[in-house]
Amino acid sequence: MNTISVQEADFDVGAEIEALSAGRCDVGAVASFVGLVRADTLAGGGDEVSAMTLEHYPGMTEKSLEAIVAEADGRWRLLGTRVIHRFGRLVPGERIVFVGVASSHRGDAFAACEFIMDYLKTRAPFWKKEDTPAGGRWVDAREADDSAAARWAK
């Protein structure tokens, strides 16, 4: 089962990972990822970010995440996928995103989990604005994210 949530609320990582294999005996591998708000900025420097606000495009967000997960399902043998992405105001240390993938074998689980994160970073309509001592600042898209996503082109 694939489930996608776009929500303001935090989530329970342990429960989400547990749910991916609960009650079944064919799952041998669950790969997962948690993304968190960092206080340091990409530009470098010390702890500058006091908070971050995530904006998204309701409707398109869910649609794009569903398409990404469907593409992962077509590429690897998966037994379940869970994606949670938060929006709203978050402070450093808070969770932003969770991706969990269940499979029989670890290779498929790892690849699909990383693929979903890479595509999410370049295709899901989220935007981050950081609060810094100098005021609000929109985060620029990273070239590293584009090249990470481009790796998966076939």
Partner: protein
């Protein structure tokens, strides 16, 4: 034709609009035409000029400038995404 246009993130702040409903002149066929049309409003709208790093979606699917715009479409303009 009549379409809904949405703006997000830094573009929304720059333009001062989150959305608008537009009745388009007949010579506008594609997303690229629409973007030029909006940029010609001048001032802050020049943020939509060709060459600016703006992405777009039609009916919640990423779309390039060549894609046709149809009556009642939901069009969105926004900067490159930065989620995750």
């Amino acid at each position: 034709m009549s379409i809904k246009v949405l703006y997000f993130a830094s573009l929304r702040e720059t333009l001062g609009y989150s959305h608008e409903t537009l009745t388009l002149p007949a010579n506008i066929a594609t997303l690229g035409d629409l973007r030029d049309h909006l940029a010609r409003r001048g001032g802050v709208w020049e943020a939509l000029e060709e060459g600016r790093n703006v992405r777009a979606a039609i009916n919640q699917n990423m779309a390039g400038p060549e894609v046709a715009v149809a009556d009642r479409d939901e069009v969105a303009f926004f900067p490159p995404v930065t989620g995750g």
